[in-house]
């Protein structure tokens, strides 16, 4: 996810970088990926600060980050807000349907715009999806609607406590 502004900003001229779809990560890319997942500096010149910490220049850091975004290694660059605190509601829901029905039922589930995404998992509880709505009561409405359309129960498994969120992946 990046802004139009980012798309317009191409790699600086004179910097020889591959623009092939398959972009090979170099050591500096890996270091950026491995460190910036833990936070971005909030100061007037954040990229200069990153560059100093990594022993490189601000221009190089910016170029590398643009490349990583353009090649799809990064999906976001910036803050993620906490939806629950902004009034949004979320839940995880599961269904148990016969194996030969999975595709058909999943399609019906997916027609609901509130279904954020949907996975088949290898278990008798085989359809797993996230429901995201603006308000809490709408979660139940979506669930009831899916149940009546498909004829199968939807199990609502709301989050009660968050122990750990650390989607940090070593490149």
């Amino acid at each position: 996810m990046h802004t139009a502004q980012l798309e317009e900003e191409s790699v600086k001229p004179g910097v020889v970088r591959s623009t092939q779809p398959e972009y090979e990560l170099e050591e500096l890319d890996r270091t950026l990926i491995n460190t910036l997942q833990y936070g971005l500096p909030i100061c007037d010149e954040p990229f200069a600060r990153i560059a100093r910490a990594l022993g490189t220049s601000e221009g190089v850091v910016l170029d590398r980050l643009k490349d990583l975004l353009n090649h799809g290694y990064l999906t976001r660059f910036g803050p993620l807000f906490h939806a629950e605190q902004l009034g949004g509601a979320l839940t995880l829901a599961a269904m148990r349907v016969p194996a030969d029905e999975v595709s058909r039922i999943a399609e019906m589930v997916n027609r609901h715009p509130e279904v954020a995404h949907n996975y088949e998992r290898d278990h008798d509880f085989n359809i797993w999806f996230v429901i995201a709505t603006e308000q809490e009561f709408q979660i139940q409405e979506v669930i009831e609607s899916i149940e009546s359309e498909t004829g199968y129960p939807v199990y609502n498994l709301p989050k009660q406590r968050e122990f750990y969120v650390g989607l940090h992946f070593k490149a």
Partner: protein, 192 residues
Amino acid sequence: MQTSYIENLNPTAPLNTGAIDPESLAYLRALIQEGLPLVERPYLSLAQQTGLTEQQVLDQLDVWQTEKLIRRFGIVINHHKIGYTSNAMVVWQIPPSDVDKVGKAISATGLVSLCYQRRACGDFWPYNLYCMLHGKNREEVLQRLQQLKQQCGLSDIPSRILFSLKQFKQCGGKYTFAQIDREKEATCTLHS
């Protein structure tokens, strides 16, 4: 590689934002959710677009972080692209009085990407603690699970492992509030 700036991300500077009008704040929040501009002074750029000063933007971000309105302030990686193509949701049936202890122990191992307590759902789905394990292949995920069981003494705890087989739907949907889209994106990342 060690980075020194991480420690200085959120200095305990005075959080006096002055009187910022709510409209500018809402605009700032909407703008920043599109991502931080990749320019030398990204916060100055946001300030110029919202009619705030650079310092006001910096202070406001500190406030939002302190208030935990911002969940994460970093880059989000496409983990499939860097090779983490296998994921499993592992669910545990933990006695309610132990959930706190076990949830913290699992989180401390560094082996899981997330750990949530969720409402159990009857006798056929009695699982109340969920974690997500990622790996470059199934074997790696199973190894991690084995390590997790050993480190946290979970070998005898009823559990299920659910590998993802197929993604039916990408993140999508239409919402009035951009915030929810952003959170959905985060959630998708968390569960995918």
